[in-house]
Structures are given as C-alpha cells and as structure tokens.
Amino acid sequence: MFVGNRQLAMKSELLRLQAVSSDIEAAAVITLDGLILTSTLPDSAEEDRVSAMSAALLSLAERISLELGRGYLEQVFIRGVGGDVLLMAVGEQAVLTVMSKREAKLGMLIYYMRRSAKELTTYFN
C-alpha cells in the first residue's frame, strides 16, 4: 500500500497513544469498509483480520444503537478473559481500534483514545 505523509502522521499518532498508556498492546486505524490505514500490529495478515472484523462489528453495533434509540455510535467495548478491545469512531470516515491488557484502566483508556480520535480526524479533511 502507498505510504503517504498522512499515513505516517497517523502512525505516529498511534505510537504516541501507545506511549502514554503501557497497557495498550496494539492500535489500528481502519476505514469503515474494513481496510487498514495504519496500525502498530506486527504483521499484515493480522492487520487484515483485525480491520475487517472491526468494520463488521462497528457497522452492526451502529445499527443496533440506532435501532434501539441510542443515537449514533461512539464506542464499542469488548472484554475477553485475556484483555479488552475498544473501537471508537474517528469522525465519519474511520475507526480507531485498540487492544489492551486486562489490567488497563478503562476510563483512562477511553480518555486517551478520545484525544487520539480527535487528533486523527484532522487527517481526513
């Protein structure tokens, strides 16, 4: 994939996010139709899976949120025995997905993600 300035800038934002919270194991920015824009995941096969799954999950969650009168979707939160996955909308064009350790403080995590998501929206205009 073509690596432009925008991708580099987004990547450094993800690295910044990981630097502020050591509980974040990986982060990715994904288009709404499930293509990776940038990530801190180690290999590209993993990137493709995470991105497609994030897009499917987010779109379903959004349908549910709207249908049940909760309005536009802001976040999806998944807790597994081994850790958490958080998805957050980045404007109307993308998703920020973060995988964290189980010990992570959820409130802090959401706070950091929000800050990053806001920063990331500036790359979509």
Partner: protein, 177 residues
Amino acid sequence: MQTVKMVITGAVAAGKTEFIKAISEIDVISTERKATDETSLLKKETTVAMDFGRIAIAEDLVLHLFGTPGQKRFDFMWEILSEGMLGLIVLVDSTRPDTFRETSRIIDFFTAYRKTPFIVVCNKQDVENAWQPEDIRLSLRLAQDVKILPCVAKDREQVRKVLLELLYTILEEAEDD
C-alpha cells in the same frame, strides 16, 4: 411456526443486498458502507457484516434471509452466518465472467465442510450481455443435479420463485437422507 434460515452469498456486486431488499417484508437490516477499495469501481456501497430480511411464505412458514459480505476479507462473517442454515443461494453476476472463479471458490467454502442444499442463481438476466444459466453451469463446473436458475434480483416475483425453488431442494434432499 416453522423458521427456515437461508443464506444468500456470492461474489462482490452479485446483487445479494438487492435480492433481500426486493422480497423482505420487514425493513432490511443492512450494513452498507462506502467502498474505498477496488469495489468502488463497481458500486458506491458495500456490505461489511450482513443483511437480514424476513418473509412469510405461508401462514406457518417464515424464511429468515441472511446476506453475506462479498469480499474475501469478510470470510469470518461467512462462517458466522452459515451456522444453522438449512439452504444456500449462490448469486452470480451473469454479466461478469471474471467473477465466476471467485464464485466457485465461494461454493467450495460453504459446501466443503458440511453438505448443504444450495442452488445457483444467475442474476442480472435483464442486461444485454448476460450469460445463459447453462453456460454458467459449464463455467462453474457444476454437477448436473445442482439447480441453476435465471433471475433479476430487482423483481420481487422472481426472487420469490427462487426462494421456493430452494425450499423444494431442501425438502428433496431431506427425503433422500
């Protein structure tokens, strides 16, 4: 009340979402997103998780229709959606022979691991350069006993006919076993 779960699959832009929207009597639950990959050359929006529609065929018989995404990267959804299905409809875009190979691969994916009654439906027969169903059968190397039907997925009556045909196929195969 009997519920039959059917899965509608096929390659990108075969007409899966349109097929379900044509027949469903509830508002279709669909998950379409703006396409940003090569799919955007074919259509503006693409399904990323699933479509869900429902149609009562008789007073005590309801069909639940689950449409899959077309792109390979969503194949984990193919697995999830095929759980508990009784029959499968494979849609083919009759005007795009370059998708036939992908269609074969999709049929293998769904039938490899469990024997599932399925029919192949040749969509977009109203377009001038559409291939004939029997030619598509040869191209897909389908066995003679697999049903292959022409269809225009925009047309509610034709979609209904296809669903009934799959229903018969399910019943026939259930009797054989």
